[in-house]
């Protein structure tokens, strides 16, 4: 019953992802004071290492900076929801951000816990109390409650929508009001010395592959040298559905949705043989009517 009793037997472990070394050191120090039993298992400086280390070390709490190189804290969290082993409870998430009115509004709207840099001790203490309570409840329930996880997926989904590419957008332009240029009609794909014009109407699947995007039409496959995020911003989201952080599918091309034994969704296509995974973040789109 008492949250403090559960801590010594199984001390909480935390991971800090913060790209500014001084701020990372400061947060570590502040946490040591407010929460002496917390063990900080790693401090990383970018969004890619954040995911890698979180999966390797399986901490109980994640402190993620929003704006980080590689990928943003939000994107890193979204990736983790997909790759996290189902038998382990998902860690408690706390986002850390410097002044950024759009982000703060979005967090407030989603009732998501966050810390504002410079981190004030009083605020950190409150967050720590909340975290201890959450971890104690989790320990009691022994299993990550599905409802909580769903709620967090929901929050993340909203935040990713409202703050598209917080890491990539220059702060001068309002991330909330993304300029909507005319939707792209043609992809200009460099093939050898040629440029192939591929009508967007023929594109069925777009898959992120490192710095490239794999473009699949009914009969061909092309490589486009640009990040998927940037391409996605120029496509109609009602026609191309995001089903995974690295997959965009033409909605009318989806033929079947099947659930495997682990509860994951997979898409079958009308004209192509590929089976595409659906991440948990986007699974809410596929429900029988």
């Amino acid at each position: 019953m008492n949250p403090t009793t559960s801590a010594p037997s199984n001390a909480a472990r935390a991971l800090i992802a913060e790209d500014e070394p001084l701020l990372a050191a400061a947060l570590t120090q502040a946490l040591r004071q407010c929460w002496p039993t917390l063990e900080i298992v790693a401090t990383v400086g970018d969004g890619l290492s954040a995911v890698r280390e979180a999966l390797r070390l399986a901490p109980d709490v994640l402190f993620f900076d929003i704006r980080m190189p590689g990928q943003s804290g939000l994107e890193a969290a979204a990736e983790l929801t997909d790759t996290w082993p189902p038998e382990r409870p998902f860690p408690a998430l706390v986002f850390v951000t410097a002044y950024d009115q759009y982000a703060l509004q979005a967090f407030d709207a989603q009732a998501m816990d966050y810390l504002v840099k410079p981190v004030q001790t009083a605020r950190l203490e409150k967050t720590v109390q909340k975290l201890q309570l959450v971890l104690a409840k989790q320990a009691q329930a022994a299993i990550n409650s599905g409802a909580n996880f769903e709620r967090m997926l929901d929050q993340l989904r909203h935040l990713l929508q409202v703050l598209p590419g917080v890491a990539a957008t220059p702060p001068g332009s309002a991330p909330g009001a993304v300029a909507a240029p005319a939707p792209l009609r043609l992809l200009q794909v460099g093939v050898g010395t040629q440029i192939r014009m591929v009508p967007v109407d023929e594109v069925l699947v777009l898959e992120a592959a490192d710095k490239y995007v794999r473009v699949l039409t009914a009969t061909h496959e092309y490589l486009l040298r640009m990040p998927l995020k940037e391409l996605a911003a120029q496509l109609d989201p009602n026609i191309f559905w995001q089903v995974h952080r690295s997959l965009l599918v033409r909605a009318s091309e989806i033929a079947t949705v099947t659930r495997d034994e682990a509860g994951r969704l997979h898409l079958g296509l009308r004209t192509r043989p590929e089976r595409l995974p659906v991440s948990r973040l986007y699974a809410h789109r596929f429900k029988a009517m």
């Binding site: 790209d19 500014e20 070394p21 001084l22 701020l23 050191a25 400061a26 400086g45 970018d46 890619l48 290492s49 704006r67 190189p69 590689g70 410097a98 002044y99 950024d100 009115q101 840099k117 410079p118 981190v119 890491a167 990539a168 220059p170 702060p171 001068g172 332009s173 792209l184 992809l187 200009q188 794909v189 460099g190 710095k211 486009l224 040298r225 640009m226 990040p227 940037e230 391409l231 120029q234």
Partner: protein, 363 residues
């Protein structure tokens, strides 16, 4: 804000009262030169002719489309309006005054003829008074219009200055710097002081710099160093930079904070999104051209670079507010002789190159 004129009844009434006062003055002068004649008829004629002329010119110009912005029709339309106003005003005013003088005021018996000399005087007075009056209103109107234009221009200028300030004093940068400073005060007070000094210099330049027209390139490089030092505290080993300014170019005149947006872009779009960070090099060179010596400044970074030319193969890409502002400043000062271009670097990174006429200040 666009200056848009609307029909204004009060100002029209004011114009009319001014016209009536003017016609009374004209009538009085007429009487003074011809003391043998009664005062009544010239007043009636003067006021009526004035009224018709005013109505045609002052109300008529509202109907002419080319008067929409300035309030006065362009070119021949304006001249034609005045001529029509004077001729019609004279004829209609005289006709009505004749009738009134005979049948209402009984100045003359019915059928009395007005002498040819009187008529000529009357026409002359109408033409002169009409021209004087028109010119007066035209001048008043024009100065009001110009004042409005100036207010508009002033507003634009302060608006763009505010916007510039906003991008330079971006809150995210400011609060992150303060957060770092807060940490340093506890752990390394000497470094905190050093950082605070840089920040004070940076703030002073940002808040006051845009008032000056130009300053030596050495000062510009010093401001860049302040900015990079601030960012280096925050980014640690992820930011490396070199500043290369030949001694001969230290006194070259440049607009203050011209390079600031380029340095910020190199960090924000180049190094910040890159996991290992990178290196920024700023170099100044004097180059020769057909039009005389030019100053070339390059800001090169090894960051993530401008991708997406696969989809938008336009050379004009990279038109954020910072770059637009640099281009506008260069164009205002030097026209086509100065310019800014962005080029991707291999294997990765971006180079922003500014060229402007080289002027060495003697100071």
């Amino acid at each position: 804000m666009k200056l848009h004129r609307e029909f204004n009844g009060v100002s029209k009434l004011r114009h009319y009262l001014q016209v009536v006062a003017f016609t009374l003055v004209v009538a009085t002068i007429q009487c003074t030169f011809m003391p043998d004649k009664p005062y009544g008829p010239p007043v009636v004629y003067s006021v009526l002719i004035g009224t018709f002329t005013w109505a045609i010119i002052d109300l008529g110009r509202e109907l002419i489309p080319s008067a929409a912005e300035t309030g006065w029709p362009h070119g021949w339309q304006g001249i034609a309006l005045v001529l029509v106003g004077i001729v019609v005003g004279y004829l209609a005013g005289t006709l009505l005054a004749d009738t009134l003088c005979v049948h209402y005021f009984h100045f003359y018996p019915p059928g009395a003829l007005i002498s040819g000399a009187d008529q000529r005087t009357s026409i002359l007075i109408t033409v002169i008074a009409g021209l004087v009056g028109t010119f007066y209103f035209y001048a008043v109107n024009k100065s009001a219009y110009l004042e409005g234009k100036m207010a508009e221009a002033r507003m634009h200028a302060s608006e763009s200055r505010l916007k510039l300030l906003e991008t330079q004093l971006e809150p995210h940068m400011l609060f992150n710097t303060l957060a770092n400073l807060r940490v340093l005060i506890g752990t390394d007070p000497a470094r905190a002081q050093h950082m605070l000094d840089r920040m004070i210099a940076y703030l002073r330049a940002t808040l006051g710099g845009s008032r000056q027209l130009s300053h030596p390139l050495a000062d510009e490089f010093a401001r860049l160093r302040d900015y990079f030092e601030l960012m280096a505290v925050r980014m640690g080993p992820r930011l490396q930079y070199t500043l290369d300014l030949p001694v001969a170019l230290r006194s070259a005149a440049v607009p203050p904070l011209l390079l600031q947006p380029l340095a910020e872009n190199a960090i924000r779009h180049g190094l910040e999104p890159s996991v290992p960070g990178g290196h920024i090099a700023v170099r100044a060179r004097a180059i020769e051209s057909a039009h005389g010596p030019l100053l070339q400044i390059e800001v090169q970074d090894t960051g993530v670079g401008l991708h997406s030319h696969a989809v938008a193969p336009l050379p004009t890409r990279g038109g954020g507010f910072g770059l637009t502002q640099v281009r506008e400043r260069l164009a205002t000062l030097h026209g086509a002789q100065a310019g800014l271009e962005l080029t991707p670097l291999a294997p990765q990174g971006t180079c922003a190159r500014i060229v402007l006429p080289l002027t060495l200040s003697s100071a």
